[in-house]
Every structure is written in structure tokens, then in C-alpha cells.
């Protein structure tokens, strides 16, 4: 495309972001500040993820973008075409064909490999923000590994609701040190973070933070010994492909209370259907 640098961002900005990424990889789970740029779409639409992708992507990369597991939603399509136009890279919807995957709120169902990178779009990088209004105080809490209040929150959930009430963005401890928000992925996806062979990068554009989980790193979901982390999944089969173990979306299909459960990962669902057929 005329008048733009490769992948939209100028090289100086990319270098700045790559430095932040290197630091983030060196301190797994630690939030590294970066000079987030204005992007041609508003905050909340994945500006953090896009900047990470832009500074990582090369001409040989194959890009996949998903939003809530789907390749065909507005956000996913527009980000994919953004990079197709500004970088001229190949794009795909197949998880195993991608070298770089940008995601909002899901991790693909099929396990990722060590030659892949996954970039998460993060609205709120600070896992303590609901507990501690002051950012200065929460940074000290991270520095001192002072994570008791997070457990108090889990204690309250179990006391009030009999179980942990959050079903997404369930906080994790990375490499036995930093408390980290996994971004608003369903708790169902949390186990996939643990020792994933692919490099995991997290970008928050509005909050100007980057953090990372290097390949094969321990990621443990917060819980109690006697109330172990136990994510729930809708007890159904996918209505389209019949898969029994994938994460399902619930859809209202008529005005009479009819409901359908289908895979949230559209690529997984399609390949499952093809296999079964």
C-alpha cells in the first residue's frame, strides 16, 4: 500500500515495542509499559494486539485473527484485512496453518506449537484493579508479591456463591511469581496457558502495557487446596459438529426460548464437521 510503512507502524515504534516484548519475556507475567500509538481504530478494538502483531509480523508470516473464537466476526475480519493491505501477508482461518494468531477472548481448541506466536487483546491488564483503586499501590503489591487480597476475593466468591463467581479472566500466577490477568478468556481456556509451546504475548493499547508468557512456562490458576480450580463448560454437544469437549457458545434461535449450543472456535467446528462427514 502506498504511503504506509510495512505493517502500518514506523520502524522506530516497532523497535520500541520489540524492546518491551523482550523485557516482558524476560520477566514472565510482569506488565511492561510501552508508548502505545494512536491506531486507525478506537481503543477497545484491539489496538494493543494490533501493535504487537505489527511489530512482530514479517513478509513470510501467515496471520489468523479470531474474536471470541470466530474468524468471521467484524473485528476479526477487519484486523485481518488491515494486515493483508498494510503488510501484504497471507492470512488464514486454519489454526495449524498460522504462524501468528491474534485473538480476542479465546484460545484455539487445537494445541498450539512452538513455531507459533499468539497475541492476546487485553482490555485491562491489571488483575488487581477491582481490589485496589490505586495503580501505584497495586504496582507495589506486585513488587512484594502481596497477593492475599486476590485470594480474599476468591474466598468471598466461594462463601457467597459456593464457587468462584468469575467464569472468565480468572487470575493466574505465572512462573510462581507474578499475578496476571489472562485477558477475558473463559476459565475453560486457562489450562491451555500452562506450559504452552507457543510464545504468548498480551497487549493492552489503552492501558499501554505489554506482558508475556514465554513458551513452556508454568501458569497456575488461583484456587484453594480444598476448592481446586474447576472451570465449567456447558454440558452439551456442539449442535453443528457434535464435538463433546470444545467450548460452546449458547445461542437463542427463536422467540420461544429455543437454544442452540455450538463451538465458539469456528475453525475447529468446521474441521470437525469435515472429519465427521
Amino acid at each position: 500500500m502506498q504511503g504506509y510503512n510495512f505493517a502500518y507502524l514506523d520502524e522506530t515504534t516497532k523497535r520500541m515495542i520489540r524492546r518491551a516484548i523482550l523485557k516482558a519475556v524476560a520477566i514472565p507475567g510482569h506488565q511492561v509499559p510501552f508508548a502505545s500509538r494512536e491506531m486507525p481504530l478506537p481503543y477497545g478494538w484491539g489496538t494493543g494486539g494490533i501493535q504487537l502483531t505489527a511489530s512482530l509480523i514479517g513478509a513470510d508470516d501467515v496471520l489468523k485473527v479470531i474474536d471470541q473464537g470466530a474468524d468471521d466476526t467484524t473485528n476479526a475480519i477487519s484486523i485481518r484485512s488491515f494486515f493483508a493491505r498494510t503488510a501484504g501477508v497471507r492470512t488464514t482461518t486454519h489454526t495449524d496453518a498460522a504462524t501468528l494468531i491474534q485473538t480476542r477472548h479465546r484460545i484455539p481448541e487445537i494445541p498450539l506449537r512452538d513455531d507459533q506466536i499468539i497475541v492476546y487483546q487485553v482490555p485491562m491488564p491489571e488483575p488487581l484493579y477491582r481490589l485496589e483503586p490505586s495503580r501505584a499501590v497495586s504496582r507495589r503489591m506486585h513488587a512484594m508479591a502481596d497477593y492475599g487480597p486476590m485470594h480474599v476475593k476468591l474466598y468471598e466468591d466461594i462463601t457467597r456463591f459456593g464457587r468462584v463467581a468469575v467464569s472468565y479472566d480468572h487470575p493466574v500466577v505465572v512462573n510462581r511469581r507474578y499475578l496476571m490477568s489472562p485477558s477475558p478468556i473463559p476459565a475453560f481456556d486457562n489450562p491451555k496457558l500452562h506450559r504452552m509451546p507457543a510464545l504468548q504475548l498480551f497487549g493492552a493499547g489503552r492501558e499501554k502495557r505489554i506482558y508475556a508468557v514465554p513458551p513452556h512456562t508454568d501458569v497456575v490458576s488461583l484456587d484453594f487446596e480444598d476448592r481446586p480450580f474447576n472451570p465449567i463448560r456447558a454440558p452439551h454437544r456442539c449442535a453443528l459438529c457434535g464435538a463433546e469437549h470444545s467450548y460452546l457458545d449458547e445461542m437463542v434461535i427463536d422467540d420461544r426460548g429455543g437454544r442452540m449450543f455450538a463451538c465458539s472456535d469456528t475453525d475447529y467446528c468446521a474441521s470437525y464437521q469435515a472429519r465427521e462427514a
Partner: protein, 255 residues
């Protein structure tokens, strides 16, 4: 009994005000030390320094654990925080500021346990229930939010939430301030009996001479950032030497 905490030549300024002027003191294990003085005398500043919440501009605070005495400055913030989470406690005057009112009574009591690494829900809950009982609050209130509690109950809850980690040293800032007289008596009695049972060392800041007399083994009288008199509580209060102490004692309303 051996020394637990020691302040050496503490001085501190807030802007142009000299808040503490070369203050030294020692606290022994199992001892209750009261710091009295009018507002602005520096007693709360001193308490904040002894408890590691504020670093003095000059002088040193030493804490003796086991055999070695190490200055808080040398230990570093992280080590001091670890002490503050378990082996030390701090009871503030206003329980509403110290407790989390959007967290159940049990969660408030369990907070320090969880901060110190407790990860068993049932154990934490059982411990919280035990402590609620110890401070004479009905166990039925375990899951209630503290905002439904009276002032006296809140203060007792704060005491439970502080003592749950079995600390050896507790700092108290006017723990009975702002409470009705009848409620004060109950808190005093509670503090006294818990302190004895647990063998705590306590530094208590109060402007209430009566509280100091009933609880403290030893007394420090502060004025304008200096210690003007110190000694056995009854000695200082019954035979005050310094003009300011005489004024303080003479100003107490007879009961």
C-alpha cells in the same frame, strides 16, 4: 525478658515541623508500652515508624528476632512487609479504614492468613469462626458484611483480623478512641485478656490516661516530638516529675 524492638535516636521532620526529635526507646517481649501525649506530640508518627509504616529521616529501628537485631532499613521493604503481614499487627483507631467493608467478616479475618500463604478454604473459615468467637461476636455473623456491625463490633472484628496470625508484636493507635464509654470498657477488657493469653508485646498510643493505666506496664510521655518522661506506668502517673506530665495527670476528670 529480652528486647524485641528498639528505636535509636529517631528524628523526623514534616516540612519545617520537627515531628520527632532524637527519640530512643526499647520494648521487651510480652511488655505493654503506652505512648501518651496531646495531639501533635508525635506519638502517632513514632508508632508509624516503630511499625515500619514510615521510615525515619535519621536514626534506626531495630527488631530482634531470635538472636540477631536488624534494622528495618537494612531488612528492606519486602522483609518488613512480611513481618507486618504475620508476626506484627496494627490496630487502627478507625476500624472502617482498616477493614474492608465490602468483604464478609470471615473474609476480613482470613485476609492476613491468606496474605501469609494460607490456601485451605475450610481451615481459613474455621479459624475465622474461632476468632469471631474469641472477640465475642456471634458466629452467625461470619458471612455478614461489616457495614452492618456497630462501632464496638467493628473494633473487635479488627482485633480478630489482626491477631489471627498469632503475632508477637501489636501496635495500637487509640484503639478505644471514638467509642462509647461502655463499649470502651469491653474493648479494654478484651485487649487485656488477649494480650495476657497470647503473650503479646504491645505498643499502644493513646491520649487517654485511664487506658494507659489499665493496660500498660510502662509509659512514655511525649510532647513536641520529645520524650519528656518515661517509666513504670503507675510511677509516672502517680509521681509525675515533668511539668507537662503533671498537667496531663491533673487534667483527667475524676471518676
Amino acid at each position: 525478658m529480652s528486647v524485641l524492638l528498639e528505636a535509636r535516636h529517631i528524628s523526623h521532620r514534616f516540612g519545617r515541623t520537627l515531628a520527632l526529635d532524637d527519640v530512643s526507646l526499647t520494648l521487651r517481649r510480652h511488655e505493654i508500652l503506652a505512648i501518651v501525649g496531646e495531639s501533635g506530640s508525635g506519638k502517632t508518627t513514632l508508632l508509624n515508624m516503630l511499625s515500619g509504616r514510615l521510615t525515619p529521616q535519621s536514626g534506626d529501628i531495630l527488631y530482634y528476632d531470635g538472636h540477631a537485631a536488624t534494622s528495618l532499613r537494612v531488612r528492606g521493604e519486602r522483609a518488613v512487609r512480611t513481618l507486618q503481614r504475620a508476626r506484627w499487627g496494627y490496630v487502627a483507631q478507625d476500624p472502617r479504614a482498616a477493614l474492608r467493608l465490602d468483604i464478609s467478616a470471615g473474609g476480613n479475618i482470613g485476609a492476613r492468613l491468606m496474605a501469609s500463604g494460607a490456601r485451605n478454604y475450610d481451615d481459613i473459615r474455621a479459624m475465622a469462626a474461632r476468632w469471631l468467637e474469641a472477640v465475642e461476636i456471634d458466629v452467625d455473623r461470619l458471612d455478614d458484611w461489616p457495614r452492618t456491625f456497630s462501632g464496638g463490633m467493628l473494633q473487635r472484628l479488627q482485633i480478630a483480623a489482626t491477631l489471627v496470625t498469632d503475632p508477637e508484636l501489636v501496635f495500637m493507635d487509640e484503639p478505644t478512641g471514638g467509642l462509647d464509654v461502655s463499649v470502651q470498657a469491653r474493648i479494654l477488657d478484651l485487649i487485656r485478656s488477649l494480650v495476657r493469653r497470647l503473650g503479646l508485646a504491645v505498643v499502644i498510643v493513646t491520649h487517654d490516661i485511664g487506658v494507659a493505666r489499665l493496660l500498660a506496664d510502662r509509659l512514655i510521655v511525649m510532647r513536641r516530638g520529645c520524650i519528656v518522661e518515661h517509666g513504670l506506668t503507675d510511677q509516672v502517673l502517680d509521681d509525675p516529675q515533668h511539668p507537662y506530665t503533671q498537667l496531663l495527670v491533673a487534667s483527667v476528670l475524676p471518676v
